[in-house]
């Protein structure tokens, strides 16, 4: 079956512009996660959605970051007024249910470059 897909695969934007990243999870997965990975580093947890529950936004680094999810489907991560330190690969993952009791399936990521 189809895996997790993300778009765009690459995004170059100017400092101060807004960007929107998209994630399509695996069908039937109720949990969806967003991570940020800077070059040569591990993953930084940003936000997760579980079903129709309010998302856990505790990992979002600033109020410039926001995310939405339509039911148990597509999610978008929006970064407003981008800064150079936002440059990173943004990874989306989905799992059957939230929590590390379940395997997470990752998308290929969106590489964001802020110039």
């Amino acid at each position: 079956g189809a895996g997790v897909s993300q778009s765009p695969s690459n995004k170059v934007t100017e400092k101060g512009k807004d960007v929107e990243l998209r994630c399509d999870p695996i069908s039937g997965h109720t949990a969806l996660y967003w991570y940020r990975q800077r070059l040569g580093q591990g993953l930084e947890f940003l936000i997760y959605f579980q079903g129709n529950s309010a998302p856990d936004k505790s990992g979002l680094p600033s109020d410039r970051f926001s995310a939405e999810r339509t039911g148990e489907s597509v999610s978008t991560l929006t970064i407003q007024r981008t800064q150079q330190e936002d440059s990173a690969v943004y990874l989306c993952a989905s799992s059957f249910y939230w929590g590390l009791s379940y395997e997470q399936y990752f998308g290929p990521g969106t590489r964001l470059t802020v110039t």
Partner: protein
């Protein structure tokens, strides 16, 4: 903030040798997972070990968990060139009433032919 730590940061061994990577964490956890990341396949789940388990095996992989030391190790036996990748551990915990997923910075493993 990142609390998981893997060591070594980088490891280079000959094909056929065993590779051991370690992960330490700071808070009590529910579960610990190991993932592999390479340019070809992205991030892929390897193995899950729960806080009440001490050891798990999956093919050439062996994971141990010592909750008293807050550490885990991943052993890859009879390494192959295809094992060249970065390996990450991830833990989940509750901090300040919030659910947290914490990832280490990873161990970069190079298998020399």
């Amino acid at each position: 903030s990142q609390q998981g730590e893997e060591d070594p940061q980088a490891l280079s061994i000959q094909e056929g040798e065993n590779a051991t990577m370690n992960c330490s964490y700071k808070t009590s956890i529910n579960n610990l997972q190991w993932y592999r990341q390479n340019s070809g396949r992205g991030l892929v789940h390897l193995i899950l070990i729960r806080s009440n388990e001490r050891e798990k095996h999956s093919g050439r992989l062996r994971v141990t968990l010592d909750t008293s030391k807050k550490s885990s190790s991943l052993l890859i036996t009879a390494s192959r060139a295809a094992d060249t990748a970065s390996y990450f551990c991830a833990t989940d915990t509750y901090m300040d009433s919030n659910y947290q997923l914490i990832w280490g910075a990873g161990t970069k493993l190079i298998i020399k032919p």
